[in-house]
Symmetry: C2
Subunit: 582 residues, 2 copies
């Protein structure tokens, strides 16, 4: 039993597969059909965003889904190509290719494999906590900035002009320089598709419901919007042979399933790709886990973040071995999958079958699909990523967090996606350390008639000339150890009658070696000045650890269980609250 439950931790399908019945099958198949219809245009579009041929997007939507279904703990996560990861892949592969002259597609495939390797290793060594270093404002800022970059980068396809760049400045410059070469046929298709898709996304549902279409059908039609845009513009391009009038089309896509194979591994390329692969893994993981958690909680299910790393790793390795590129769990698609009633990861397998069938039979039909249509689907999709509300809320709630967010956005837009993520992470950590390096401290006195002790500055409390109690509202560790010393020495310099200092520790969850050294120094220096040092309300685990050091032997004072006991024992010359004395 225990062995089988351990095995089910690695292969969750052993768990959900046991009770798999006809009803689950029906629900999963329905969801798979809807997700497949949504995924076909998306996989083509995101491949284009990643700078890759359309079939690479399709290949990334077959085996990776099966890989995730085997190892994943989320019942409803829909894995495949997504916008932000495609952008990051394009940036990383573009930089490496321009330096080394390696093949673009081969490099993107290698990147997927490396990203899979990173995810697998992080999962096996249970390093999911690394994702915690990406604070929410940094992630949100990064995704908003990515959305802007992606939308702007796709306008070249809408206008039918060549324009490329790695940041907003380069992109806008290239667009501005090329705009007079706009291809009118492309622009008509592009802006029509944009307008149509925007209407479908924002208005169609309410329009359909007004004329009496049932909600479920209306929802389905909204999700199928991009498919209609694809069909409509493909027909137009094919009928009027627009490709001969300068409209860029998808063209011939190889028919057939991807061929399995181990990609060529060039160690020089690996070295250059490993950092971007790690960042892609981290961002992909954070996005994926956050949507997986949201959906799981709605059904009182759980996901295991470290096992998710393994599953996403397997998906990316499968992508690399089958000619696909980097994938992760997509937000919009997963929500659609959930809403459509998917019950188990089997829905993902059925989706993979659907895409496989499309790859086998439908690719000739998209020969005339204009790239402008794909660009329009991307632009409309990524506009949802730009989260101005979160920026405003962050500004209102915490200037510190906003600073990290603003730096991430600015650097992502003006320098590169990697610089944006890296600076956001570093700034978050520095700001956190800065904050906890000056923790909230209060001198406390006794509230008359009670056993409570409160801040002397806020409350009218009883104090004592020869005794000062300092309460520190933070764990004591290297970043604030010296601050604590400063505070105590200030007390010593300001209170000439001082005989006893109590450090009140109800909020101290840890004392590290640096803080221990500081406590020892405080104890010695107070002793030099003839003052005793005491502790009160030290938590159990902190006390356990202190007992492993010689601090408690050297302590000139005592450790009191409660502050009240300490005060009773030490306050020999009490002074009533000022307000009462006057």
């Amino acid at each position: 039993m225990q062995a089988s439950s351990k095995l089910a931790k690695v292969f969750p399908f052993l768990d959900w597969g046991r009770g798999y019945g006809r009803q689950s099958l029906g629900n999963d198949l329905t969801a798979a059909v809807i997700v497949t219809i949504m995924l076909i245009p998306q996989s083509l579009a995101y491949a284009m965003l990643a700078g890759l041929p359309p079939e690479v997007g399709l290949y990334a939507s077959i085996l990776p889904l099966v890989g995730y279904a085997i190892f994943g703990t989320s019942r409803t996560l829909a894995v495949g190509p997504v916008a932000v990861v495609s952008l990051m892949s394009a940036a990383a592969v573009g930089a490496v290719v321009s330096q080394t002259g390696a093949g673009f597609v081969e490099t993107a495939i290698l990147l997927a494999l490396l990203s899979g390797g990173c995810l697998l290793l992080m999962g096996i060594f249970r390093l999911g906590f690394l994702a915690n270093f990406l604070s929410h404002p940094v992630i949100s800022g990064f995704i908003s900035a990515s959305g802007i970059l992606i939308a702007v980068s796709q306008f070249k396809h809408v206008l039918g002009i060549p324009a490329s760049g790695h940041n907003l400045i380069e992109l806008l410059g290239a667009l501005g320089g090329g705009v007079q070469q706009t291809n009118p046929y492309t622009a008509v298709i592009g802006f029509s598709a944009l307008g149509f898709l925007y209407f479908v996304r924002k208005k169609l549902k309410s329009v359909l419901e007004k004329i009496g279409v049932p909600e479920g059908v209306a929802g389905f039609l909204v999700k199928a919007g991009p498919v209609f845009a694809v069909i409509g513009t493909t027909l137009a391009a094919s009928m009027w042979a627009l490709d001969q009038k300068g409209v860029q089309i998808v063209g011939a896509v190889p028919v057939g399933l991807p061929v399995l194979g181990i990609p060529a591994i060039d160690l020089g390329l690996v070295e250059q790709l490993i950092l971007p692969a790690f960042l892609i893994s981290l961002i992909g993981f954070v996005e994926s886990v956050s949507v997986a958690q949201t959906l799981a909680a709605k059904r009182r299910q759980r996901i295991d973040p470290n096992q998710e790393l393994v599953a996403l790793g397997a998906a990316n390795v499968a992508s690399g071995f089958s000619g696909g590129y980097a994938v992760t769990g997509g937000f919009a698609r997963s929500v659609v999958n959930f809403d459509a009633g998917a019950e188990t990861p089997a829905a993902g397998v059925f989706t993979a079958v659907g895409i496989g069938i499309a790859t086998l039979f439908l690719t000739p039909l998209i020969y005339f699909l204009p790239k402008a249509t794909l660009a329009a689907t991307i632009i409309v999709a990524v506009l949802a990523l730009i989260d101005v509300h979160m920026m405003r809320e962050t500004w209102r709630y915490s200037k510190r967090d906003f600073l990290a967010m603003a730096a991430t956005i600015l650097l992502t837009l003006t320098i590169s996606v990697e610089a944006g993520v890296a600076s956001g992470v570093i700034l978050s950590v520095l700001l956190h350390l800065h904050r906890s390096s000056r923790p909230h401290c209060a001198i406390v006195g006794k509230v008359p008639g009670t056993e409570h002790f409160r801040n002397v500055l806020r409350h009218s409390v009883e104090t004592c000339d020869t005794l000062v109690t300092l309460r520190v509202d933070e764990s004591l560790y290297f970043a604030n150890a010296r601050f604590l010393e400063d505070q105590v020495y200030a007390l010593l310099a300001e209170n000439p009658k001082l005989k006893n200092v109590i450090l009140m520790c109800p909020a101290v969850n840890e004392i590290d070696v640096s803080a221990l050294e500081s406590l020892e120094a405080i104890n010695r220096r107070l002793a030099d000045a003839g003052v005793k040092f005491h502790l009160s309300e030290v938590k159990g685990p902190v006390m356990d650890r202190l007992q492993r050091s010689s601090f408690l032997d050297e302590l000139t004072g005592q450790v009191f269980l409660s502050q009240y006991q300490a005060y009773q024992a030490l306050a020999d010359n009490r002074r009533s609250p000022k307000s009462a004395a006057q």
Copy 2:
């Protein structure tokens, strides 16, 4: 009055100078004489350690002391050349000179100026907190490793062989390769000086006291030990013309005071030196502040760390403008200054005058001073830096801190001083984040008959099927926000009857935007599952901030002042402690 007290914050001598009388003068002069006697051989020796001619060490012991006296807040800190900073200067200058072919002395002077600039900027922008990122174990490990490196690097002078290297492996290899070329005269002088200085340091005081010499005189003789070694070996070298037998001597030292001048500033060099200059500033500042604080506390005085940055910056700028190299407050010399009765920074000015006189009149006398003697004084001095006790204590107290310490020691010894410090800092921060990313959490229940709530796993407490209270013993921020979500979703999955979740926050000192988002997500997901979310015992400042967000409006449950109130209001189906039920 207020303006003058503000001015006195920048120029502390306005404060202590006012009451300066005959007695202070006498005490400061006495201390200055003793420190000068100690500083003459040290300044020559540390200049040699830094790879510089002896006069640079003397110059670094004149104006920098005056610069510190003007701005410093410590009454007794003795500024000048010290061992660790000399080693770091040698490493940084050596690396840059070998790459660029710039002059060694000019580069060292520029490094002092840059380090002074870093310190001044950090002081003006009040960035003293940056030093807090160096945890005590990392500093201790770095200084121990530096002590080992310094001692080994000086053995070439004791043996009279050429041997150089930037890390322990290179140094030991060079020493091993050169040992058969040992110059016997040099070795006799070197080992005699080593033996003599070791005896003076460890035994002389007790021997003198046994034969009835008063303690004060004995202490003075111990401190003057290096001077006796210098005089003895210089006389020996001069009498027997040992320089002609291969003994390396100090040789001609320019007579006269340093010439003031602005050093040549090469922007290319500046770029390469800026990182080492910053690290030197940081290490120098940490060392200096820690001894200044220790000594100030003994007399119930205070120092201002940010003003100390300004003062050390002024000292280094003065050093750079007068042909000296990087300086900081030295531990041993400051303690001697303090013990000798120095009352104000005027003692530093008098010491500077003493070194100035020595530079004017005594340099011809040290022509025959053997380098082996200087090396011996360095070796004996730095052995005190190697702190095995601290390593053992750290191992016993915290494996996490020990890991950071061990990495610092290993990398300092085997790669470079910069790699050692940098990796120590990064590892400390990562380990801290890792720890606080999995904070201590407890499900609590009510201790029967009281208003107290305790961990259900440790105590026999009353609980309730439909209510779970989670107490988190840490501030909530980006590194642990997701962990909190995991914990709550686990509760949700494990307790099918759950109707209410209370998050008990007595140890939560901050909730950042990431944690706020997590709380909002928890609130929504619990609502989706039909469970209400409540908070209890939220601290004042945390509550103030929450009120700036929309979280409290969306909260499905309530915020209770005390956990007891929350329990009374929500626990509808109480279950007695198991032990009581059985």
